[in-house]
Symmetry: C2
Subunit: 150 residues, 2 copies
């Protein structure tokens, strides 16, 4: 990829990332973050959440994969930061006999927000949304910005 | 520990092992066994279980710790086998405001079942029980036998 071929405002693509409770259980074990808000509906509601929510770092990590794949190398991501604005509720599947699916879908799209020819880097800004408990899409990360070395 | 000091029928002790859903989430991640029967109440009931149950291998592993501590060395366990007879239901905590505790208690006791002076080994048989969904203690492992090198 050549900096000269890129321009500000250019899209690097869009991706839909399914998130299930099984993903959160796996992430809880991998991260060591066993906070029950990420796997226990009763507990999550008791502390005022709409239900089980994804780990913020899970969402952040899942979202940047779009940039990693675009850059072709995880090591090319020099900097990545974001603010967590809204939770990502991850509903259970419904119905007593239904298989274990349910879940949510996080939608990520990225665009070139700045180019630095001298440093040979670009900044990719991500728009990251997921449905809230009423099904309305919300920005779940803001100022999600990755600096990529070309 | 000296084989001559041990005799058949002798107790190596008893232990109560608390098991919570957080333990199962941790174990799911560590083992890679993400079967929802170990963390999803709805799913567990849908497949005919009394609720979320512990991983059999979790119970088996937790139970043998009594023998490991008695032997003083995990490497001294030469052989360990069991049959899984009853599930270990692990209830959620109760009440909307309650902290994330709940859970079950597995009770393990061990006794010397056989001595082999020539091989310098003993066989420890474990009795492993846990309350069923009605609160009645059940044998959850049978023929749980560990061969220990002295």
């Amino acid at each position: 990829m050549n900096l000269a071929e890129l321009e500000k405002g250019q899209s690097i693509g869009t991706r839909e990332i399914p998130v299930t409770r099984a993903d959160l259980v796996r992430y809880a074990g991998a991260s060591g973050d066993l906070n029950p808000i990420h796997w226990n509906e009763r507990f999550a509601r008791a502390v005022g959440l709409p239900g089980v929510i994804a780990h913020g770092m899970f969402t952040m990590g899942a979202a940047v994969q779009l940039v990693v794949d675009w850059a072709g190398d995880p090591g090319a991501i020099l900097d990545y930061q974001t603010r967590f604005t809204k939770p990502v509720p991850v509903p259970d599947a419904e119905g007593a006999g239904s298989p274990e699916t349910g879940g949510s879908v996080v939608t990520v799209s990225g665009k070139i927000a700045a180019l630095d020819a001298e440093a040979s880097t670009v900044r990719v800004d991500l728009a990251v949304t997921a449905p809230d408990e009423a099904g309305k899409d919300q920005k779940v990360l803001v100022k999600a910005q990755a600096v990529v070395r070309l």
